[in-house]
Amino acid sequence: MTDFLNSGFRKTDLNSDANIEQNVETTVLGADEIIINMGPQHPSTHGVLRVKLKLDGEKVVDSECIIGYLHRGVEKIAEHRTYQQFAPYVDRMDYVAAVSNGLGYCEAIEKLLGVEAPPRARVIRTILTELQRIASHLVWLGTHALDIGALTPIFYCFREREEILKIFEKYCGARLTTHAFRIGGLQYEAYDELEKDTERFCNDFEHKVDEYETLLTSNRIWLGRTKGIGVISGEQAIAIGATGPVIRASGIQWDIRKAAPYAAYDQYKFDIPTGKNGDTYDRYMVRMEEMRQSTRICLQAIQNIPTGPIMARVGKVLKPPPGEVYHAIEAPKGELGYYVVSDGTTQPYRVRIRPPSFVNLQAFDTMVKGHLVADVVAIIGTLDIVLGEVDR
């Protein structure tokens, strides 16, 4: 008996049988710290994230994210392609929000060239990007709820996401990695029923969000699993570089669509939802409200799509003048920045992608400390990371 206790658990002073009787409870509960490995093949890590957890019982004492399993060297590929050839690659980073990636890249190169997309192109870009934001948040909501144990929402979420993907399919023929935009504007004119489809979807969708909320918002299990979990304060979020819904849930009202408007966002009215506590529940509420705001933007945009060309005057061969530019957009997950350096040739000298997921994931260690193993899953879900973007 003494040998058994000493071998597997924390060393306790066990001299006599009487001591065993007294110490048995403390010995078993106060087990040594152990290190367990979560992922890269784990259903709730949303891809190939590997987390090393140091546990004291069920409590997380320390953690370390190990990433890079999906590294494809996108930035190196960029240096060996022309500006136009590289555009489809960016869709493969955050593959649940390909349209947003494409928008950021096209606008960065346009800035580098000194051209601007025509108004019609910019409005259509805004509509598609906002639909993409809803689709991305729906994937987040479905999987996040599934991880925590609510099995139903994912079916509703994918039902609505399907409608959005159908709009993309009608617009450009692709559903997931769309390559919807071109440098200088759009390749395809909007199809005839784009406005009608978008309007129908947006009008329906507002009720659908209410429907999701009846399942989750005041659900006692949901509250128990999300309130006070993974708390990060506003100052911490700024220090760690978190952006998007993560920083807004911590009470910082900052959105690049308002701070430095791009595409056609300066023309539309919308609110920036914020939270107070910076916990998982607030991030959930922020993203739910963002979906409503996105439908609001789409409904305003389809009222008045300007007529005119959809492509600016850019040549077939792009040779931006030497120099550099940093362009950031508000992707569904946060600040997506492109830092592009040109040396005056047809190929970019350097393309640096500032992925929101990569930087947000850095907050994981702060958020997870002191929580239980079961909450690790909730925290990975609430950060809304996509490993294609983390690893690039």
């Binding site: 890079g68 590294h71 190196k76 940093y326 830092y339 990569f358």
Partner: protein, 146 residues
Amino acid sequence: MEAWQDRKQAILVVDRAHLVEIARFTRDDEQFNFLADLTAVDWPKREKRFDVVLNLYSFPKNERLRLKVWAADGEPVPTVSHVWPTANWLEREAYDMFGIVFEGHPNLTRILLPDGWQGFPLRKDYDILTQDTAWIRENLGIESGQ
């Protein structure tokens, strides 16, 4: 120090030795409290081949600023990870891809590539076929797979 604007974006080149001092000044006095991005660019023909680029953002002022540090191969750059904790992973990535050493970094190891990786892929003299050819020679016993 050198300063200019490119496409209406402010760029400031600072001395390597004074980076931490200037970083603290820009964060505290100039209110650039958010490090959006830290990366590097390789110019192999230059004497100091690396640009270390810091893209800063100021929440109170809603402005962006780009700091640049020039460093030769093997010259350590002081870390700013204690000024902006964001820099922790970003500096690790710059080390992983360019081999730039950040002095004083708490854990300067490879982040995206495996630990045993040879070379630094985003350097301009790193040929994309090198790794491939080496693997093919070793494992398949032929000269090239191309």
